[in-house]
């Protein structure tokens, strides 16, 4: 059993990560950090750079949590990728960051968070950036 967190290099991702660390401690389970970037674009703002992932790793090591950082860069569906990892790792909870979306934005682009909330077979902890 693990705590799985979907990480993106922005305020939402950091908020999710902080909440996930707490959750992992409380449950006494290892943490799996997943960063996803699409493979059909040239540049993806949600891709975490090597340095960023290294920093996340250092922070987690300092906090003394058992952890694993994964970067997925194939496919173009972050919700799918996170749910697949959750399945593989038998995650007990998925932690994600939530952002406000306008109705039109949701219609056009869909929502990764919404798909995870609806399709996950385990509890999902949705965090808002402060």
């Amino acid at each position: 059993m693990t705590v799985l967190v979907g990480y993106v290099p922005n305020a939402f991702g950091e908020a999710a990560l902080t909440a996930a660390v707490e959750e992992a401690r409380r449950r006494g389970e290892p943490l799996v950090v997943v960063n996803m970037s699409r493979d059909d674009v040239l540049v993806d703002a949600r891709r975490a750079g090597e340095e960023q992932l290294a920093r996340v790793g250092r922070d987690l090591a300092d906090l003394g949590t058992a952890f694993d950082v994964r970067q997925i860069d194939e496919g173009n569906d972050a919700a799918d990728a996170i749910l697949r990892v959750a399945e593989e790792e038998k995650a007990s909870v998925i932690v994600i960051g939530l952002r406000h979306r306008s109705p039109v934005g949701k219609l056009l682009l869909g929502s990764v968070a919404q798909r995870i909330l609806l399709d996950a077979s385990c509890p999902v902890l949705a965090v808002k950036a402060s």
Partner: protein, 508 residues
């Protein structure tokens, strides 16, 4: 001074709200397609060709020239930020530019590229003003045999000099010439290669060929390939340069211009060679040799200036001789033909307003590009986040619509698909696309000149080699084609093999 007066009159023609709007549209679209790798100005101009048939010829040409210039600016952005050159002419920019971006100097690299492009574009366009009419004066005295010879030089230039492989270049040229001869022979009225299909009797429209090869071919190629990891965003910031950057940039800008313009102006120049030469020169002359390979600003400034200067140079043969030396110019030539104008030396005489308005619009477009590119570079970089499926779906939509709009014939859509598959196969087997499109456009022209010279000489083949201009051209062709052989002979026999050059006669 006549040139300057004509140019000022051209400014008068261009400075109407609608023309300025067209130029602004052109530079915006041009920068956007330049930024996106795989979509170049040639494809864009091909896609817009059918749409512009409803416009004034002057406006259409202003639009195309603006896209062409814009593409040169935009290409550098991707090279610097992603190490993925948007255009072949900005390959060299990527060498130092991307290193600079990685070292956190993306803003300076983008600034020197944009300002260098502006400086080079302005100087080179000014050179165009003075050189082009001289070339026209010279070209107007040329007869059919000389003109044929010059076209053949262009054929050999685009297929054997540019690109990596002569055989592939010539193969591509032959495919183009074959597509070009489809239709009714204009002298005898016989059908050629129409296979009994009545729709082919009028020949294959250049628009359909260009859209099929550039747009559909590229879209199929991308659909079949180019799946790769996305890069992370490099923070750009507003481009600016410090005093030291200016000091190190201005000389490379001027030297790059000096390389770029002449190479663009000769019928076999292109932009790749001068950018490379400029890079080598800067590397040799720099006072900071230790920085080369780790992000030297001179290595961005010089090649960027060279590629914009060569873009302006390309317009010399296009406007003065009717010879395109790159794909975008080839399609602009097709547009001229579409308006019923005869590109060539007579263009300046018959349509001086159009030519000078076009040149004036280049100055204006260049200034607009500087204004658009310096403060907005971060916004342009955002374009790279568009998922490819959206882009290529759009391209295929416009491609089919454009091909159908030319003649409103469903048959053209089949033709488009077939040509798209040809374009895909050419990319698959590494055949360059430029010789094909030049073959399609110039092939019929070359044939016309050849037939005309033969008619003049009463069928005597010696009529094809009249005049010293033609001799020089054929000598150049022979040297270019047989150089590898000659070089080999010289190497093996040290100076005994040189007499091979001038005797061989070449027909393409």
């Amino acid at each position: 001074m006549d040139n300057l007066n004509a140019l000022i009159a051209g400014f008068g023609d261009v400075l109407t709200p609608l023309n300025l709007l067209v130029a602004l549209l052109g530079v915006t679209v041009g920068t956007a397609v330049g930024v996106l790798p795989g979509i170049g100005p040639a494809m864009t101009v091909a896609l817009l060709l059918p749409i512009t048939y409803g416009m004034e010829p002057t406006q259409a040409l202003i639009l195309f020239a603006a896209i062409f210039y814009g593409g040169m600016y935009g290409g550098s952005t991707t090279s610097i930020l992603l190490n993925t050159p948007g255009e072949s002419s900005s390959v060299v920019t990527a060498i130092e530019g991307n290193k600079m971006a990685k070292a956190g100097r993306a803003a300076q690299a983008l600034a020197t590229a944009a300002i260098g492009s502006f400086v080079a574009g302005t100087i080179a366009t000014l050179a165009l003003v003075f050189v082009m009419p001289q070339v026209v004066d010279f070209a107007i005295s040329l007869g059919a045999p000389e003109y044929l010879a010059i076209i053949l030089v262009a054929f050999v230039g685009v297929s054997a000099v540019l690109g990596t492989s002569r055989v592939r270049g010539l193969a591509s040229l032959l495919v183009g010439l074959t597509i070009g001869v489809v239709g009714i022979d204009f002298v005898t009225g016989q059908q050629r290669l129409t296979m009994g299909i009545p729709q082919l009797a009028d020949g294959i429209d250049v628009v359909v060929v260009a859209v099929g090869i550039f747009a559909v071919g590229e879209a199929l190629w991308v659909a079949a390939h180019l799946r790769r990891k996305a890069a992370e965003v490099i923070p750009v910031g507003r481009p600016w340069m410090g005093r030291d950057d200016w000091r190190r940039s201005w000389k490379p800008w001027l030297r790059g211009t000096a390389f770029g313009f002449p190479f663009g102006a000769i019928p076999a120049g292109g932009a790749e060679m001068p950018t490379f030469l400029s890079y080598m020169t800067e590397k040799k002359l720099t006072r900071h040799p230790e920085e080369f390979g780790r992000g030297a600003i001179e290595g961005v400034a010089g090649p960027e200036a060279a590629n914009n200067a060569s873009a302006a140079g390309t317009l010399v043969p296009l406007l003065a001789l009717g010879l395109p030396t790159n794909a975008t110019a080839a399609i602009m030539l097709a547009a001229l033909q579409g308006y019923g104008m005869e590109p060539g030396p007579l263009l300046l005489e018959k349509q001086p307003d159009l030519v000078w308005a076009l040149i004036a619009s280049l100055f204006i477009g260049n200034t607009m590009l500087l204004v658009l590119n310096l403060p907005l570079a971060p916004a342009w970089a955002k374009l790279l986040q568009i998922p490819r499926p959206y882009l290529y779906a759009g391209i295929l939509f416009f491609a089919s619509m454009g091909a159908y709009a030319v003649n409103s014939q469903p048959f053209d859509l089949f033709l488009l698909l077939v040509l798209g598959l040809v374009g895909f196969a050419m990319r698959r087997f590494g055949l360059p696309v430029l010789p094909l499109i030049v073959g399609v456009i110039l092939g019929p022209l070359a044939e016309k000149q050849a037939r005309r010279s033969l008619q003049l000489s009463g069928g005597d083949p010696s009529g094809l080699i009249g005049g010293p201009v033609a001799w020089v051209c054929y000598a150049i062709i022979a040297i270019v084609l047989f150089w590898p052989l000659v070089a080999k002979l010289i190497r093996s026999r040290r100076g005994e093999g040189r007499d091979v050059e001038n005797k061989s006669e070449v027909s393409v």
